[in-house]
Subunit: 210 residues, 2 copies
DNA sequence: GAATAAAGACCGACTAGTTGGTCTGTTTTT
DNA sequence: AAAAACAGACCAACTAGTCGGTCTTTATTC
């Protein structure tokens, strides 16, 4: 009656998050999920397929979220704000998936790796496009090279998985707000930046810096 | 006559970079280095020690560089500029080390892991301190929470290892300049930002954006 | 400087344990 | 009754690491 496949996924997700893909054997997964080798291989062709499913679940979600943010807003500033915000939120929702995604993608079999890479690139290009769009409309600083700037944003956000903890000093919302603040500060021309920022950022918890 | 230990290090570094720590067996290392099991275990106590040496080499270097930058400059703005610049350069010098450092640290044995973590934390704290110093002196925006802002900088730079390639579209110097530009743009108060920036950033290759 | 001794560098067959995966059989659901 | 869901003993391949032995370099003595 219980969904064994889901059980295996959750269990292995937690184990991989703790010990890495190669730090966990199929036997360990099987034991921790309260099943058997037979149970495992009934639902997954191989350990590698399990790894792929984890990757795919996550990247598919992120991409759809970004796409929604892209469609529902008109100005590049609003778009990048929405993308960063939803993207950062993901790190609270999908923490274990993400750890696996960024730590273990090396070990994906070529056929799987290619699929993941494609979706990942699409997401990356969406961010690049928004930046370019913003530059062309004159909202964003034209001096910035799109790729480097885009990778800066991606790096800043992606790195969250290395340090974010639910019970840490900052909530995921606070992180999202600061990161959008930082991003807009380097994207928007300095003249525009301070004045119009006040409308966008409702500076919630910042004043506790003594 | 050749330095076998160094040969093993370089070879395994390249192999780990390509296939990950667990994707490469000691036998493969031994074969690719043109030596034997005996040769390997004469120089390294275990495969785990090899992993540690790679980690330690890199983090020790980075920390010393940052420390130097910290001492040789007085103002926080100059410090953060120097730190980012030298830090980004490292990604050209130590690419394989860094891949291993960020991908495989999960697999360090506890005793080794503790050592690395300490050095890594020291480096992180140096960046936090510079930001805090800048806020206290009034150079940097006081609204920003130190930790989140610091992790943004770290993430932005650290992520380089995922995408930088020597024969890519941008040199490591270009990346370093853009990243310091971005960082100063969100650290410095908006009023200061544009005017004083022109002195700091000699905007070299930016005008090729059509 | 030749002879000898000692230490370090290196070799490779071997082992004990673990790994992902299979296969036959049983139970449970449709 | 047939098909899907699961169990668990089993296996071949591979793993990190060992160990007795050899070669090469260095130190010491005559």
């Amino acid at each position: 009656m219980r969904d064994l496949k889901e059980e295996i996924l959750q269990t292995s997700l937690d184990l991989f998050d703790l010990h890495g893909f190669h730090g966990v054997s199929v036997n360990q997964i099987v034991e921790a999920s309260g099943t058997s080798k037979g149970g495992f291989y009934h639902h997954f062709q191989s350990k590698d397929e399990l790894l792929f499913v984890i990757h795919d679940t996550f990247i598919t979600y992120v991409f759809k979220e970004a796409q929604a943010a892209n469609v529902h807003h008109s100005s590049p500033t609003q778009k990048i704000q929405a993308i960063i915000h939803s993207f950062v939120q993901v790190f609270d929702l999908y923490k274990p998936h993400i750890s696996v995604f960024y730590q273990e993608s090396t070990y994906l079999k070529p056929a799987y790796k290619a699929q993941i890479k494609q979706k990942r690139d699409e997401f990356k290009n969406m961010i690049f496009l928004v930046i370019k769009e913003g530059q062309e409309s004159g909202e964003f600083r034209r001096e910035l090279p799109v790729e480097i700037t885009g990778m800066a944003v991606l790096g800043m956000v992606n790195w969250i998985y290395k340090w974010y903890k639910r019970d840490g000093a900052y909530t995921i919302d606070q992180i999202a707000e600061v990161f959008t603040d930082l991003t807009l500060h380097f994207l928007l021309p300095s003249s525009k930046s301070p004045a119009s920022m006040e409308d966008l950022l409702h500076v919630p918890f910042f004043y506790d810096n003594k």
